[in-house]
């Protein structure tokens, strides 16, 4: 009994991180109708930079903050060079190639500088062996902190989108960019803002995953982005509740399969879910159908 509870709990925790990445992806999807496939490598670069800064003797809080800000800053670059020029070209899907290309470039760049093997990621707050006792189940402090932080960020994001002028502007641009511009909203700046927010969410998600796994390598970001993407599709692109349910379901299914079938099957689950969802319910669990008005 305890084993299954452990699995579910760790599934919920990693799932919450997937949900953060899913939120970031859908944020920029709605403002630009593109998917940033470079997100994973951006997030990886931020985590590797954090490790490097820690190695150089920088205090933890400072190194993490700089790493996360780097993710946000790199997103501005990604939007500027890999997305904006391609949207001007009309209805082309060139951004698929350009964002993917940017991701591969960053991955190669980091491999060249830091090597392609896994780098140890130090424990920041809790050691991986710390635990608390919750109703007789031993719960890892690290996992609990990750869950708490993810949920806090999601609530903060939701409040930002609903209660602040810039957040409402992000939603307005997602609905109808022309109408938003006519309401006096600086659409370009709102799009850049959505990319920065997406990068910050991804950067934090990357640091949290690195904390759990204990290592980072140039390839880990891409896998994580794929999981975030599946979570987003699963829950339905573009709403926080959907991202959370999608991410958590994916995390729990993965961990249960990993615990009872094999850990090798764990990573295939995301793709199995993706195929099933796209076949039977393409708009996701909570999604809305995308209309194109002629």
């Amino acid at each position: 009994m305890h084993f299954v509870l452990q699995l579910i709990f760790s599934g919920v925790c990693v799932g919450a991180v997937y949900a953060l990445i899913a939120m970031g992806l859908s944020l920029t999807f709605w403002t630009t109708r593109t998917l940033n496939f470079g997100q994973g490598s951006l997030l990886m670069t931020a985590s590797v930079a954090t490790v490097a800064l820690l190695g150089a003797g920088m205090p933890i809080a400072f190194a993490v903050l700089l790493g996360v800000l780097l993710a946000g800053g790199l997103m501005i670059v990604a939007e500027r060079i890999a997305i904006r020029p391609l949207l001007k070209a009309g209805d082309s899907m060139g951004w698929v190639v350009s964002t993917l290309g940017l991701g591969i470039f960053l991955q190669g760049f980091v491999s060249t500088v830091f090597g392609s093997q896994a780098i140890a990621f130090p424990s920041l707050v809790f050691d991986s062996l710390d635990f608390v006792d919750l109703a007789g189940v031993q719960v890892s402090s690290q996992y609990l902190a990750v869950l708490g932080l993810s949920l806090t960020l999601m609530v903060a994001m939701e409040l930002f989108l609903r209660r602040s002028a810039w957040g409402r502007a992000v939603r307005a641009v997602s609905h109808d960019a022309d109408a938003a511009a006519l309401a006096g909203i600086p659409v370009r700046r709102v799009i850049v803002l959505s990319f920065v927010a997406s990068g910050v969410l991804a950067g934090i998600a990357g640091v949290m995953v690195a904390q759990i796994t204990g290592t980072v390598d140039p390839g880990f970001g891409f896998n994580l982005m794929v999981l975030g993407f599946v979570a987003a599709v699963f829950g339905g692109m573009g709403n926080t509740a959907g991202a959370l349910v999608g991410g958590v379901s994916l995390g729990v299914i993965e961990k249960l399969v990993g615990g009872y079938v094999s850990t090798a099957a764990e990573h295939g689950m995301a793709f199995a879910i993706l195929m099933v969802i796209l076949a039977i319910r393409p708009q996701g669990l909570f999604g809305r159908k995308e209309f194109t008005k002629v």
């Binding site: 002028a165 409402r168 502007a169 939603r171 307005a172 609905h175 109808d176 022309d178 109408a179 938003a180 511009a181 006519l182 309401a183 006096g184 909203i185 600086p186 659409v187 809305r288 008005k293």
Partner: protein, 240 residues
């Protein structure tokens, strides 16, 4: 408030690739009047409106607002200079509530003051919106949506208002009400209004001046009363 000298358009052209939607249009909207732009479907009315508000780039020509050249400004900059544009086809933010639609319209254009006072004035103007303030705008009836659009476009008391086909798809009784409101906005707030319509009769009833577009060119213009009395007008339309 700067001097109101009106909205002036000179030699305006709009192209979409090889298609020229607006060809050398010049017109002038006097302050505090309603100007009707008439024409059949595809005559270039919407393109002209979009060029004025900045959504469609002008490939040639000049647009001045109260003496200031706004031809190169982006849509949001024009919006903040007191030029408001309500798009065709009731394009509001469908999944946002009525109140959020008003709020979004207010956020980036307000010149200080509280949103609540402004919103209350809207609900006073259109009492039927009060009960629906938290309803997603997409769930409202066509007439109610048009009221939200008009209220949102007017929420910051713009000096200029562009209205694209406000009668489209609405029941005659609602059209009466909407046009009555448009007329009162011009009379009471001294807002300069340019509205385009396919239904000439309704538009000319409230307008002071008007012009007829055909294939992107102005083929006739003059006082609204003179245009309304012109028996050849409908030929210009149907031939559109």
């Amino acid at each position: 408030m700067p001097d109101q000298t009106g909205l002036e358009i000179q030699g305006l052209e709009v192209r979409y690739g090889p298609v020229q939607a607006v060809r050398g249009v010049s017109l002038r909207a006097e302050p505090g009047t309603i100007t009707a732009i008439l024409g059949a479907n595809g005559a270039g009315k919407s393109s002209l409106m979009k060029a004025i508000s900045g959504l469609a780039p002008a490939s040639a020509g000049r647009i001045t607002l109260d003496g200031e050249d706004i031809t190169k400004l982006s849509p949001h900059e024009r919006a903040r200079r007191g030029l408001s544009h309500a798009l065709e086809g009731r394009r509001l933010f469908h999944r946002m509530s009525v109140e959020e639609n008003l709020r979004v319209a207010w956020d980036f254009r307000n010149r200080g003051g509280g949103f609540k006072t402004v919103a209350d004035r809207v609900y006073e103007q259109f009492p039927m919106l009060t009960a629906r303030r938290n309803t997603p705008a997409g769930m409202l009836s066509g007439g109610q949506q048009q009221m939200v659009i008009l209220s949102a476009a007017l929420i910051h008391e713009p000096r200029y208002l562009l209205l694209d086909e406000p009668s489209l798809g609405l029941a005659p009784v609602i059209v009466q009400q909407i046009f009555g409101f448009i007329e009162s906005v011009c009379r009471e707030r001294r807002t300069t209004i340019i509205l385009c319509e396919q239904v000439a009769a309704i538009a000319l009833r409230v307008a002071h001046a008007g012009c007829v577009l055909r294939r992107g060119q102005v083929v006739r213009s003059g006082e609204a009363a003179a245009l309304a009395a012109d028996p050849t007008l409908s030929a210009a339309y149907l031939g559109g």
